[in-house]
């Protein structure tokens, strides 16, 4: 090619030109680094550093009993440091011969939302931003069309004429879509039918939230805030221990209570006895009786094939 060779340096290149160039280069590099440092500056506000121990923690199902003990101790320490209360954190496993089922009597429910708040208190849900596992829907008589549901009804007195109320929480599906979609197995179904989340394993992709047909899953968009005096110190690893920022949580049938043979908090607080809970494998349990005897009961969104363990029924 006849064009001047592009790599030829001009003869005029002097030391001066070189110094100018290296000066320019140097200042470009310095200002680049300064800009990089400036853009990283918000990191200085980072408070909740993940400890190495926590970062490297193994998957729940792979923890040996000794390792589990250490993990529980670490969580207790962390909670104590943060809230000033020494909690009792346990790893409660499902009981043999038990499969939990929930029945909710829609004839009785008056929409008072006491269950919502009892749940928040029992399960150490964030008060700011507010996280609630139970959503009570107000529906006009004669329709189960959820699009007609009012979520934010404000009534001076409940029940209101012409409406019925339907509390919705995790339906503990037999065929849970949320478990299927989780890319890291951070959520799974245990043999007592409860779908749990390992808060230390969840990566926060929120795919389960997209998959859930019941809008039962909640995400910690910010660091949860719980007033110290409201903290429930009776905790379970897969249950109500405080969650971190950036992970999923949801109703787990109060496993810290129910796996010890107690009722869930929402049931205990219900003033009209609309909520029934028990072991479906026990033919004498209340839920077995209801499912045998009541004529009308509903599995929400049956067509999605999720087969919930949560049954709505009417008395009359």
């Amino acid at each position: 090619m006849a064009a001047p060779h592009p790599f030829n340096m001009s003869d005029k290149t002097s030391d001066q030109a070189l110094t100018r160039r290296s000066f320019l280069r140097g200042s470009a590099a310095v200002s680049g680094l300064a800009a990089l440092a400036a853009s990283l500056s918000p990191l200085r506000e980072l408070k909740d550093f993940t400890s190495t121990e926590e970062f490297l923690q193994k998957y729940y199902k792979e923890l040996s009993p000794e390792e589990m003990k250490k993990v529980l101790a670490r969580i207790e320490r962390q909670v104590e440091r943060e809230y000033g209360i020494r909690p009792h954190v346990r790893d409660l496993r499902p009981m043999d011969g038990v499969e939990f089922v929930y029945c909710l009597n829609l004839t009785r429910c008056i929409g008072c939302r006491k269950c919502v708040h009892a749940c928040v208190a029992e399960n150490n849900q964030s008060r700011n931003p507010e996280i609630q596992y139970i959503r009570v829907l107000r529906l006009p008589h004669g329709s189960l069309d959820l699009e007609k549901a009012e979520h934010r009804y404000e009534a001076k007195e409940v029940p209101e004429k012409g409406f019925f109320y339907m509390p919705v929480q995790c339906q503990q599906c037999e065929n849970p879509p949320c478990v299927k979609v989780c890319p890291v197995n951070a959520t799974w179904q245990e043999k007592d039918g409860i779908t749990v989340i390992d808060y230390d394993w969840c990566i926060g992709c929120r795919y389960c939230a997209a998959a859930c047909p019941y809008w039962a899953r909640r995400f910690n968009f910010a660091r949860p805030e719980i007033p110290k005096e409201r903290l429930n110190p009776q905790m379970a690893y897969l249950g109500n221990r405080p969650r971190q920022r950036g992970v999923m949580e949801k109703c787990h049938f109060c496993l810290q209570r129910t796996r010890e043979g107690r009722y869930p908090a929402c049931l205990e607080v219900c003033p009209v006895g609309a909520r029934k809970f028990g072991n479906i494998l026990d033919p004498n349990s209340e839920v077995s009786h209801i499912l045998r005897e009541k004529r009308v009961f509903i599995q929400l969104k049956e067509e999605t094939g999720t087969s919930p363990r949560f049954f709505y029924y009417f008395d009359k």
Partner: protein, 568 residues
Amino acid sequence: MSTAVRNYATFLSRCARIAFVGDWRYYAWMGVLTAIALIGLHAYCKQFVHGLMVTGMSDEVSWGVYIANFTFLVGVAAAAVMMVIPVYIYDNEELHDLVIFGELLAVAAIVMCLLFVTVDLGRPDRFWHLIPILGQMNFPNSMLSWDVIVLNGYLLLNVHICGYLLYCRYQKRRPSKWFYIPFVFIAIVWAVSIHTVTAFLYVGLGGRPFWNSAIVGPRFLASAFAAGPALIILALQVVRRVTASAPALAGGESVSPDQRLLSAGRPATLQDFNQLAENLPELATVPTGVLHSCLLNALVLQAGTGDMLLRQGARDTDVFFVVRGHVVVKREEGGRIRITRTLGPGEIFGEVSALGRVPRTASAFAEEPSTIIRLPAEALAMLMRTPAVGEYVRAKMTERLLISDHALLTLRGIVQVSMIINVFLLANEVFKEFYSGNLHVASSKYLFLGLHGYHALVPWIWAAVALNLIGMVLLILPISRSLKWLDVACVCCIVGIWIEKGMGLVIPGFIPTPLGAIVEYNPSLNETLVCFGIWAFGLLLYTIFLRMSVPILQGRLTRANEGLPEAA
């Protein structure tokens, strides 16, 4: 072995160095992109500290613009394959080197995809939970784990193919087919898979009727194969502009339309060929028998200063060799004349259009009294059967990196067909939703008409529909054979599809919620800045890839010139 490693390290370091060399426009462009990327990084650091609270997302709408951009970019990455298919399956020579630009775009797009997924994670520090063996991968149950595998696999495939071909070109050695052809074919199938899997992310959710539709997969592919090549059409024109205007020696006077073409000459003799061979040693390897048969139709032209040898847009099929003197090649583009290059003794011109049977892409003039040999294309094809000449001509064709209008129009054909299919499939979906009118129509109603007084997405989707239709009509009309209108059509398609597939697909899936509540979504400023940052970073990456690959493909950055400073 160690020499091989050292050679490779030299290659990498030279590539890295050349990324920092360019003219002021390059520095300005890179500076702006770096600044935007850093602003994005700043915004992300805020999000990292305060959580996803700083975004517009909520429990009701739990995915937003991050996942919308991710979905769009998977399509762009997949569509790079549309350049590969004509080249490797139909042997389209013209697009051959352009494929690398497509694959590099795929690499940049996948990196952007991975970034968009990462910024969407609540716990990015736990990414290792996704890695098989180390963590827990829910494979094959979770479509997201499939996506992790196919996206990373696709990234590796494309990095390998581009890297290998470029390194061979750098070393001036012929790439071994076994090292890349199988991967190219795997990549074709793989590209379809990445977008199908991404569609299945949505399609597989029975609780979200808006997504739970079999047509989403085909729609994703159709829209990707429209938006991807459309983006490549625009990128190639930028590459062409930047590379074509390099050595401008003479002024930019216009080409007179009525200047006569110099066509008279005398029959060529073996002596003329011998004289040419002095500057073109490859010619000496051609058997005399072949040379004799080439002589039959060869002419020798004696050109005076300013004589025209080639006319842009003409459809003749001769090729030219410069025996003596210099020839300047000028290209008229949008009313301006660009001198694309000057040629000296031993050099060939006119071969791209002659061999490709396309109109001349530029005009050529003698810069000084010159001797030129003119051959019909068939004669050149005969000469090219001698391996040395064949390689020389092909190398020259690449060096010029003529991104011909014809190549762009081939891509136009792809965008055109894909866009028609895309609009058709969208119409299918809309019909099914609204005509059957069952309860599941709520999301579509929200998207297209607004629902119960909420209509944040309505202007967006109608803008998308309008852009898609305008783009499609322009592509169907013959006016889009002119680059200006083709560019307009491409921009319409890209923006239209970005809205339709990003905001128009991801967001309405969440509205109303499965329990019937309507909570709208608006991306926050911080979230938007993160998006801009990632886009800027992706463009930065693509620019660097082009900055490295163009001189390698042109033969300006080779092993032969190691040790010399890199030129702008």
